[in-house]
Amino acid sequence: MLFNSFDFLFLFLPLTLLCTYVAARLLEPRLVITVLIAASLVFYAYSSIVYLGLFAVLMVANYALGLAIASKRTQLPEKRLLLALGCSLNLGVLAYFKYRAFLAANLNDAFHLGFKLESLIVPLGISFFIFQKIAFLVDVYRGRIQRLNFQNYVLFVSFFPQLIAGPIVHYGEMQPQFDRNPWSNVAASDVIRGISFITIGLFKKVALADNFSGYAEVVFKAADGGMAPSFSDAWIGCVAFGLQIYFDFSGYTDIAIGLAALFGIHLPVNFASPYKARSIIEFWRRWHITLSRFLRDYLYIPLGGNRKGGTRRYANLMITMALGGLWHGAAWTFVAWGVLHGTLLSLNHLWRHLCAKFVPLRQLSEHPAARPAAWALTFVAVMMSWAFFRAPSFAAAMKVSGAMLHVASGTSANLGWREFLFVAGGVVWVVLLPNSQEVVHRILALPDRSLPLVGLGQGIVFACSMYFMMAHQYEKFIYFMF
């Protein structure tokens, strides 16, 4: 079920809120957990009933493994073995559904084999819930989770606002909230917060992201068909995609945060104005924050992080980012995108290291003109890297990124001034305007008498978004593919 669908917004959500309210107020507050679990399973089954069984089996298996690891009777070597077993199980399932055809195709190419493995329908949200389960097992192993509760655990893995595309949450940040029965006493500020986030997120998705998608589509489709785009088309297409994926994914996250808030639950922030970043390091602290956190805590640091010298650090960065790229999709273009970002991060760390060592470089980096230059450089690098993320093939990615570097190149796909101005407006939006968290924070700080007017304004924005949503025929969120 899509967040941007009539069924979800006007049937599933009101019914779930009503049932939660009845259970919390009139029955037993802990019953709400059961209500939310049932709603979450219905939510998942609606989109992917075929894989509901797989989802349930993985859920129970991981809990059993978690219990075994947490048991005081289990010795350290056994704990390690169980953790390895759990990680292998989860990654094996992920590999089977998401990477098997990719793996077979590459083995065939490399060794001239004749494997014939067809692509399967990938279970919805698998990349997200697998990571969440791995994080759970590792946290239990590291002793970060002291107490396990099956009901809390099931709700943690299935809670519908974050089930399909995050934010990737940790058991440790959800259990204390569930224990407090937040739904029995939802604060007015949470309701305003929830509605505001949902309204902003929906607008970002249906009014902005879905409109930018057309411009990117024109350019990348032409490139995939063998046509080299012109310099301006390549830039408009790539920046349009950069805006589309930002508004799409951050819009999804805003809705997820807003939905959780309606039940009194706080989900972590996932985006913090990433296109305002003045370095790639800063970009990754602002973009898909919960994925960056996962990759850092469960991959980069276990690989040795920056504790084993400069060379190892850069190697670890490259490995982490390449695997992060592969996590997005079973294609070499995603790996290339990850490697590109790994390289940029390594260069960024190297630059910082050199600045710390050489005074003239430090002075240069502290010059007032360096700030806008650093922003521009970061923005250009990030936008160029999107070519690999968006392109359906390596050849298309090379065509688009090549055109971005050659002023007099290619043929025009008829993206003109109108498209340029729309995309430029989007850039101004993401660079100058406050992000969703800042907007909601300001709304919550308003005097009480101003709130009805804000509610009226948000109602109008929501209504317009609803019409956009219908006109666009409920386009899926990009991250549903991953």
């Binding site: 009480d448 709130l451 006109a471 666009h472």
Partner: protein, 328 residues
């Protein structure tokens, strides 16, 4: 502001109240607008009217009558042979349909209706590559409200029906244009190049052109190799079986084609096999097979719009005779 929701401040209550009021008003307005416009073909697309015909029993300007359970299942060849003003039938097809789409539509249309007289088009072009590429044309996403509960309660929402509600944008633009000053309408109107007038009927084209056009159309509409193995032929077969099971008075009808077109397909094995397969299907399911060439009508080029479509004059000549042949 950390007070509980049940004892929230007046400002917070005003926020939620006004938000919900505006959203409810927008929902009600959208539903009202769609209900008005779904009936009118100039405001929303024919897909919306066709979905409306599944839910509502009335006479539709572009599709005909959805009250009786008589239906015409095919593409533009059948649609133009029985014009929408031909009484007593509802057109489930209009132009360029695919058989998977028709299957969905037929099954949904007759879910809560008893079929009466149903004519299914015997059209080899339904199994051409172009049609195979169409798939379900998005119809598998529609009709979720066409269920027992909502049917019994008589409650459905066009706002919740994707094939209808996607017209909300053009519809509101259309409404807004009525209140737009003339200078703005002129400024916003897309520039259109003057087109050469199309001849009024097929007979006005020179013979060479007619042959050339017919050749092109025959090539595009030729059924694919092994068309009987395709999912589209399976959908066509299931549609006929479904109608037969529902006890429809069923007729499979081959619609008229121009002489040029007929000449070109006369010895074409793809076309011949398709007609034979369709005829066999009709026989197995107890449907009458009517071939327009066997009817006592003499067609002239003046009866056609183009290679394979009757014009209004030709339709008026053909439809009553065909209906009689089908059901008498």
């Amino acid at each position: 502001m950390r007070n509980s929701f049940t004892s929230c401040s007046r400002g917070a209550a005003g926020f939620v109240g006004l938000f919900l009021a505006v959203v409810s008003a927008a929902l009600a307005f959208g539903e009202w607008e769609l209900r008005q416009s779904v009936y009118s073909d100039d405001e929303v697309g024919v897909v919306a009217s066709r979905i409306g015909a599944v839910y509502e029993r009335r006479v539709w300007p572009v599709l005909g009558d959805s009250r009786l359970g008589n239906a015409l299942v095919g593409d533009s060849q059948l649609y133009l042979a029985f014009r929408p003003d031909y009484p007593g039938f509802l057109h489930l097809g209009l132009s360029g349909e695919s058989t998977p789409m028709l299957e969905i539509l037929v099954k949904e249309y007759f879910k809560f209706r008893a079929p009466g007289r149903v004519i299914v088009e015997a059209g080899p072009q339904l199994f051409s590559q172009r049609r195979l590429d169409f798939g379900t044309l998005g119809y598998d996403r529609y009709f979720k409200q066409n269920n027992w509960v909502q049917h019994a309660l008589g409650i459905w929402s066009y706002m919740a029906e994707p094939g209808v509600s996607n017209n909300i944008g053009p519809l509101l633009q259309h409404k807004a244009a009525r209140y737009q000053p003339e200078w703005m309408t002129a400024a916003l109107a897309p520039a259109t190049a003057a087109e050469a007038p199309t001849p009024e009927h097929w007979g006005l084209y020179p013979l060479e052109e007619r042959l050339s056009y017919a050749r092109q159309r025959v090539a595009v509409q030729r059924p694919v190799d092994a068309f009987e193995q395709t999912s589209h032929f399976a959908a066509y077969r299931r549609t006929i079986e479904f109608l037969a099971e529902k006890k429809a008075t069923l007729c499979v009808l081959r619609t008229p084609l121009t002489e040029e077109y007929l000449q070109l397909i006369r010895d074409d094995p793809h076309y011949l096999q398709a007609y034979a397969a369709i005829q066999a299907l009709a026989k197995v399911n107890g449907a009458r097979y009517v071939d327009s060439q066997m009817l006592p009508i003499t067609y002239s080029p003046e009866n056609f719009d183009n290679q394979d479509h009757l014009n209004a004059r030709g339709g008026a000549l053909f439809a009553p005779v065909a209906e009689k042949a089908c059901f008498s």
